[in-house]
Symmetry: C2
Subunit: 253 residues, 2 copies
Amino acid sequence: MGTTQLESVPEPKYWHLKTVLSEALDQDFAVGEILPNERELAARFGVARATLRQALEQLELEGRLQRRRGVGTTVAPPRLGVAVGGTGRGWPSEAGEGWQPVDAAEGLPTPAVARLLGVDPQSRIHTVRRTRVTQGQPVAAELLHVPGGSVPGLSAIDAPAGPARARAVLRELRRLELDGQDRSVELGSARADDAKELDRLPGAPVLVVTTRYLTADGTAAVSVATYRADTCRLTFGDLGDVQIHPDDTRQAS
Amino acid sequence: MGTTQLESVPEPKYWHLKTVLSEALDQDFAVGEILPNERELAARFGVARATLRQALEQLELEGRLQRRRGVGTTVAPPRLGVAVGGTGRGWPSEAGEGWQPVDAAEGLPTPAVARLLGVDPQSRIHTVRRTRVTQGQPVAAELLHVPGGSVPGLSAIDAPAGPARARAVLRELRRLELDGQDRSVELGSARADDAKELDRLPGAPVLVVTTRYLTADGTAAVSVATYRADTCRLTFGDLGDVQIHPDDTRQAS
């Protein structure tokens, strides 16, 4: 039985170096270990500093390295698998899957949020801020936008602000019957407020997950959650949170 | 009824510039238009070249700008919504959703693929290469790994290579009864062969979608698909391919 070779393509220098470095990380370095400085590494592998820097950037993008100011470049632990979509595909839970309500505010939606919700831009909405912590690490920051009409029983008097207010909005939202969700994932950069909660600099790469919660009456709420792209692998499953081995996707092909 | 302000955070200079530039893109530039050069832009906004460059990088990450060698920086069209998961959450289709079979090869799996498939690293597998085109643009490149045991009826004689071989593997795979899928999405960088098919340089940011196809007997196939992170927004839906307005997520919060 014959073996067909898939077409091969010439690789640029930094790409080849990246592959070599990646193997060196597997064999010679432990998670958390600080790499030698750029001058030393460039000398060791016999490449120009610019080539080295490109290869290091690739490895950072793939989650193999972390570069932190004042610390240097360290070997990253495997990415965390973080389940997106929730158990039972239901409403955002009041305090599950590591989500922590932080605050809730009331005000006018941005034009884009108004469009996503299908509401009048002049109608007031509630915005709940939550953060998500997995295995002790901040992994996501979320703004959940809820039109007043979705939470008609919400009292303005009880819990006027803070986490208690956020929980009150979520509790009222869960009274509605949910028909389904749709969701999109795209690359983005962390806004200043999210970056702070994610322990990153503004502009760090994030995976932006936008979820619409749908009822018979239309869109009842919209969540915009930003996940750290360096440390997270988002998981989606028919069969619950089946874990793909953390090292697998990185070398899977 | 009182209005609570969410906590505000000081923003770095490039971040503020990014916001200003983003508004300028909305108001003063058309999709596809070439931006003035960096020197000119830095002068117009009264910032240092380094600050400008950081802001441009952010806008590229968010899919607002495209930088192409020999062309310059242009205003990007809205990202394409690309449905992930397939209609009916079934097997990969033979030729649906814009997927095109390119080739199929037979050989030993990498250790990572063997682990994902749960097969002996010494057992031969079929690897089908496909590309996906949406609205005339290449959006994804995929390797679909199929153990020989999943396609026992596959003849070695008919269609020994090329797209016909790829179709034959897919056709045999679809004979199995599918129990479900699990899927993960993470940030990665394009391998040289994928980059070529995606019309990008090796190392360009991609969204790596790893899917395991599960039957009663275990994992029947594993797909590793890389989507262009600059031009694609991956969509997942309970309700089929509900389109979120392309401009929405970018300004949604």
